[in-house]
């Protein structure tokens, strides 16, 4: 029971962190079909901007300033870069963001150095919120939960209650029709891209001091974010939310469940040991491959339901 509760809590926090990162990418990917390889790089920039701002002014202003900076950067990238590349096709856009990721990583190395920077949790949040069966639950993780929940709420409200949001929703599923109806689709694209980048920046502000802020953080965070986005499905923010939570819970529970395929086979009477063929593979306990399960799940869902969990549009 204790294990269940603690794992639920852990899985929830991790899932929400994934959602913060993936939400921006879902919007961008769904709307523009651009697999933005530089998304994790913008997340990294958000963390570094927050580090600089919190060093000179404070953490709370950084919560606002860093996402705004990232959003601005995203708008510039979209207006002067992606827009031009758009007519050359999706692969061209993908490679554009690829090249951008290289440049951003090198720029970060040159400006802030190659080592991790001491971007820390603010003192106001650096205490324990409550205890769960003897384990501390830090206040900062509660703060992360709060921010990501607010983020989800804000995006949902904006998409469903504002005019711009309705246009965006329409463009998520029928981009050409929206253009035909006379809306300024390029401006919508820029807004969405900038918004997605701002979300990534906010994720960086929150996640940068929880994890480690260093130049290789984009490279390590990248793949799992794509998995979440595609798993959740194109055109669906709710799908992204659910996918993040699922991934969070799967990875967390895999760590605490000490079973392997060999155990499953033993349950039906087949004995497997290290010596049997493929024994090396079958005796692997779940905790060892926990972090790989998202990729397995991705492959499975794409095989049977290529639009993802709640996708509204086929890829």
């Amino acid at each position: 029971m204790e294990l269940l509760l603690v794992s639920l809590l852990n899985g929830l926090v991790y899932g929400m962190l994934l959602f913060m990162l993936a939400s921006g990418l879902t919007l961008i990917f769904s709307m523009m079909g651009v697999l933005n390889f530089a998304h994790a790089s913008i997340y990294m920039l958000g963390a570094y901007f927050a580090y600089d701002v919190s060093r000179h002014i404070g953490f709370w202003p950084a919560l606002v300033v860093a996402p705004v900076l990232c959003g601005g950067l995203g708008a510039l990238i979209e207006m002067y870069g992606l827009r031009r590349v758009h007519r050359n096709g999706h692969i061209a856009e993908l490679l554009f963001t690829f090249g951008l990721a290289f440049i951003i990583e090198k720029a970060v190395q040159m400006i802030w150095g190659l080592l991790p920077v001491p971007y820390r949790v603010p003192a106001a949040l650096d205490h324990t919120l409550f205890h769960v069966y003897g384990t501390n639950f830090p206040a900062y993780r509660g703060f992360m939960l709060l921010v990501s929940a607010l983020m989800f709420l804000a995006i949902w409200l904006m998409l469903t209650r504002t005019r711009m949001g309705l246009v965006i929703q329409a463009a998520l599923t029928h981009p050409e029709m929206v253009g035909a109806l006379g809306h300024n689709v390029p401006r919508v694209f820029t807004t969405v891209f900038a918004g997605g980048c701002a979300l990534a920046g906010l994720a960086g502000v929150i996640g940068g001091n929880y994890l480690v802020t260093e130049p290789s953080m984009a490279f390590t965070m990248g793949p799992i974010v794509f998995v979440v986005v595609v798993f959740g499905g194109l055109g669906s923010l709710a799908g992204c939310f659910i996918a993040s939570l699922i991934m969070g819970f799967v990875q967390t529970f895999a760590v605490v469940l000490e079973y392997s395929l060999a155990d499953a086979l033993a349950a039906i009477g087949i004995k497997v040991s290290d010596a049997t063929a493929l024994g090396e593979v079958l005796t692997i306990p779940l905790p060892r491959i926990g972090a790989l399960l998202p990729f397995v799940m991705l492959i499975l869902i794409l095989l049977f339901r290529p639009r993802g969990l709640m996708g509204t549009r086929d890829t």
């Binding site: 603690v6 003897g134 390590t220 967390t252």
Partner: protein, 414 residues
Amino acid sequence: MIRFKWTAFAFALAASLLGAAGDALAQGTIKIAYTDPLSGPFAQVGDQNLQQFKYIIDWINGRGGALGKKFELVAFDNKSQPSDALLALKSATDQNIPIIMQCSGSNIAAALIEAVDKHNERNPDNRIIYVNCGAVATELTNEKCSYWHYRMDAHVGMKAETMVRALPKDVTKVYLLNQDYLFGQSVERDVKAFLAKLRPDVKVVGDELIPLGKVKDFSPYVTKIKASGAQALLTGNWGPDMTLLIKAGMDAGLDIRYYTMYAHLGGGATAIGPAGNGKVRSVMAFHENIAVETGKTDTEGWTKQFRTQHKFDFYAAGFRTIFEFLQAAINKAGSTDPTKIAAALEGLTITDMLGYQVTLRKDDHQILSEYFVGVFTKGVKYDSEGTGLGWKTEVTVPAKDLDQPNTCKMKRPS
């Protein structure tokens, strides 16, 4: 005209790179090739190593170098790929450079050992020695050992034994957590073996392997560690796998000692932060407070000067030992011919900068030197990376305790 200059520049560079510019030794310097990741996600490793090498080479050249010639480092970026390291090797042999060094990545080291062996066998007039400054997989001086390979850092087995020897008497329950690839699996295996041999009273209450570089949230692992009642966590993790694990443990209020192998390297102190006070330990060859503790003021002054010039602490005492060995061997051999240097190096003993006797063992070319376990704590003279906390020696393990048996069947050149 600019265009002409660029063409000339490009040609000159191409010519020099392609080895047409002549012998590595003719200009009066002893060139040493060095390859490590200098770009990409692991660039900080090569970068910090380069800075420390430059400091050491300046110092040793100030002491006359070897045979009256100065040392010169020629750096090659291998981008963490064995194929690029082998390309660097080709470039080095093209220029008849006698020695190549590499510190990061046992996969690259394995590739280099094989390639150097084959090259030396097929080109006996243009040999090269491979000095391994940091690739620690145990089999590199056991199954994969080679006459032309010299390892100048303690290997995994030795580090594991040091870690076990540093466990205090009151710790009886330990948890093992390592990265799921050859290195991490070796740490797991060796730590268990040495626990059985040296501390049979200690019980291993948990044993985990995690996929390399993929886990971002260690809180479920921390939950398991807590449930097991372990008093110490032994891990060989490096990079984010180490720092995130420790951070998660501290966040959850885990009352445990962390024994690591890499917390003292660049970035570790910053990432762990002041919260790690008194909890985090690391198995290391050196930290800047050892000289203070043992009263070696000249060494203390030397490393102090490094930190005033650079933004990180000096940790690579082993690099200085390398050059002291090379200086001694080249002077003893009276030549910069790799075959003669190799013969002079094996079995050589020198005194390192902390005053200990260090030997290059003849049967497997593994260095035997003292090793330390330090604890990250307040109240030391030199702090790490501006955090206010630094390393303090908890346990010193003398070299003779680490003289482990080996299975090397070395093929010597006739």
